[in-house]
């Protein structure tokens, strides 16, 4: 077994896991909700802002 304390402390996701309160199932629920929020923010704002920079969407002659 790995020494979970050593590795958990030094990684961001490990830290996140330790900071979250409650039992394991609650941590999982919170993390899934967080991941969904990140996906939503990306789909709604981040990706539409990045897409025009990407070199495969131009359809016009100019």
């Amino acid at each position: 077994m790995m020494d979970s304390d050593d590795t958990a402390v030094v990684t961001v996701y490990g830290m996140l896991w330790r900071v979250l309160p409650g039992p394991t199932w609650l941590k999982i629920v919170v993390l899934v909700a967080l991941a969904a929020a990140v996906v939503a923010v990306c789909f709604a704002w981040v990706f539409p802002a990045v897409a025009p920079i990407m070199p495969f969407n131009d359809v016009t002659v100019e």
Binding site: T11, N57, V61
Partner: protein
Amino acid sequence: MTDRAPVARAGRPRVAAVVGVVGELVITLGVLLGLFVVWQLWWTDVLGERTQAQAIASLDWDPRPLPPAGDEPTATATPHREPAPVLDEPASGTTFATMVVPRWGSAVLPISQGTSTDVLDVLGVGHYDGTAMPGQVGNFSVAGHRVTHGKPFNRIEEIQVGDPLVVRTEDLWFVYRVTSTEVVRPVDVEVIAPVPGEPGVSPTEAQMTMTTCHPMYSARERYVVHARLDYWLPAAEGTPVELEPALGST
């Protein structure tokens, strides 16, 4: 592991921390890139198809051809070949026409004014500012996505010379016939000149041009379809016969 631990003890936690955090960053970046691909190839189509269907539904008129049910012999409507009544160019973002490419089936695509991304990404097909309006002498030029954002021109490479392109405004049908297809560089604006390929020349014919990206998933070149007006028809007089095979395929 326990053998080497005493030697590495001083440096190892720090190295492990750096490697761990870098690894996390790389994995996170990979997941975000994967999400971007999902967004680009799937979600923009979901949104684009929805907004384009809304653009069609919000028209004051019904752009769908009448079904070829027995009561209206559409084939007997007389094609008009005299100069057609021409609309004024509408405000940017206004959906003012629709088009059907019978080779693609019966799908009705909205045509909106302008070729900026807020038109093309949302409303589908965009009409180049300053080019002719449907039926007008000159070059009625439109652009559309070939992939993503509802991909209205996805199957452009299937179009053959001689194929009809059917454009509809509120009152009129316009039937264009494809005269040529070509692949050009993105800077070759003469494809949308009033006389395609001959900038500065005064037009004597009503033509139409479609542009989209080429090859698929790239913006290196443009795929271009040119067509010439065959005839026009007031919508009140009937439906172009060119739409009947398309209707039958639904």
